[in-house]
Amino acid sequence: MSKLSPVLSAHWDEADSFTIDGYRRNGGYNAAKTALDMDADAVIQLVKDSGLRGRGGAGFPTGMKWGFIPQNDGKDHYLVVNADESEPGTCKDMPLLMANPHSLIEGIIIASYAIRANYAFIYLRGEVVHVYRRVQQAIQDAYAAGLLGKNINGKGFDLELVLHAGAGAYICGEETALLDSLEGFRGQPRLRPPFPAIAGLYARPTVVNNVESIASVPAIIANGVEWFQAMGTEKSKGFTLYSLSGHVKNPGQFEAPLGITLRELLEMAGGMRDGHELKFWTPGGSSTPMFTQEHLDVPLDYEGVGAAGSMLGTKALQIFDETTCVVRAVLRWTEFYKHESCGKCTPCREGTWWLVQALKELEAGRGTSADLDKLLDIVDNIAGRSFCALADGAASPIVSSMKHFRAEYQRHLDLGSCPFDPIASTLFAGVHS
């Protein structure tokens, strides 16, 4: 039996999987009908019971998040879907929305009903026009089918859904920055408390969920809690999308129960590219401390990855083989964090600026062992000192690479240059002259 469990991706091989007809042909929107027949609190309870946890990185229990919304407070409530997928390595929500946008819309209907929201937003990163088209069309079709708008399914439930394009800012994946951005401000994180569940969008109770989390809800409603709980591990229930990229023979999306290992996934991806071996990998994007060959059998669930010293994150498995210079890789990620730092707080703004300069020196082989210690001390003054988690993410690749590959940093310094040939690590190595 396959170790995989395609649910969200079950029909991506159908030419019209992204259309409302294609979605309905495969049972789409039945779960929304079921949910709207239920008591809203019962929907929240069902999602709580399922054990579904946030798929955006933090793994917070989805049903519990919904339960935080104060009910009967006479205020507008909002659901905001975080589709700002920008964490380096992360590439699951965009193919999901391109191939199956209706699963998200159905999930939005159910979640909005549950939290008594009559207005929902999808905050989609702006750099993916075709995904925007697909989601926009799906929303239009859902309105036309009476699945959005006034009196959905004749159940007296109203829901407006707005698609909102971002414009290039990783920080807007942070939920409070996303809310500020959606309100028309610079996307800089807000002070918490108040938390979004109490004062989120327009200072009203708001749930912010990742695309995959919400898109997973219809299947749970349709198939039941037991079906969902049968997948995954004790505290990490259900299925999820694992994204393999990099130096594997066949990169791609693998939807599997939580707890699968990289060894198993690598096998399905055809292994490392010919003649090469695994050097380091990220379990869930660049902000999660990197792993090495030692970690091939770590169960890829929230607890397993945590226990091994990293985070499940977005399950973005970026695989690098021995041709890759880890210092170069880390420098490039650090440049990313510098580029994406919102500028609000000192350690992130100034720290990432300094780290890039420091790493450039090291990559070029300039410096001494004392500079490696200084690098770690600078990181110590940044991680855990900043306003939001972006700077913690920036620290991860540096700290974890220094843990696993300090000798490689030192080799740069000993040689006075980078010992790696960048061409060797390209996809077209040997092909391109």
Partner: protein, 208 residues
């Protein structure tokens, strides 16, 4: 450049999507780029007036997001992903070769105004690395040669189609309009998913 009454009506309809009008600032900035190609002072002043904001407040927002351009970009804006994974897989070589080929650097435009170049960060298509985005459409599994061909085609008015996207590549302004929420009716074009996206599904069907 002046905004037609039709443009103004479109802006009003964008504002009407939101419970509070300030929320419309981002789609309106995309819309300004759809009309003028970049964020002009006329655009900033118009948005400020429409949303009852100070011009400084609009500037604060427009300069925060990298997709809003304060200078004109090309009709075809080429973004080469140079984040770690794409860079390692060949993005660095692609960037260097296309930059040399066009004779322009980061955030620069060819003299004919056809092509501009940007070093972009991760675009959520890592299983298709190295990735190049043109007007924010996916060009997957690129090589230095394929991108040279791409920009040559673009300069000759005959750009190739995106890997996962509409049948033909739309211009920067046209795609900016899409991001402002103005439908171009092309959602139905293109594949549901590329091969890597379907790999797990395929293996599962094979029982693997």
């Amino acid at each position: 450049m002046s905004y037609s009454s039709e443009n103004i009506a479109t802006m009003d309809s964008i504002i009407a999507r939101y419970p509070r009008k300030r929320s419309a600032i981002m789609p309106l900035l995309h819309f300004v780029q759809a009309i003028e190609g970049f964020v002009t002072s006329e655009g900033i002043e118009l948005i400020a007036k429409k949303l009852e904001l100070e011009t400084a407040e609009v500037t604060a927002v427009s300069t925060f997001y990298t997709q809003y351009k304060s200078e004109p970009v090309g009709e075809y804006h080429v973004g080469v992903c140079i984040n770690t994974l794409c860079a390692v897989m060949g993005g660095d070589e692609i960037y260097k070769s296309v930059s040399d080929h066009l004779g322009i650097g980061n955030d620069e435009v060819t003299k004919d105004g056809k092509v501009s170049l940007e070093r972009i960060e991760c675009n959520a298509a890592c299983d298709y690395a190295p990735v190049v985005m043109v007007n924010w459409e996916f060009f997957d599994n690129q090589t230095p040669q394929s991108v040279k061909d791409l920009v040559d085609g673009a300069r000759n008015g005959n750009p190739p189609a995106p890997t996962r996207g509409p049948k033909s590549l739309r211009t920067w302004k046209e795609n900016s309009a899409v991001l402002a929420g103005i439908s171009d009716g092309l959602a139905g074009e293109g594949v549901s998913a590329g091969e890597p996206s379907k790999l797990g599904l395929k293996l599962s069907k094979e029982g693997k």
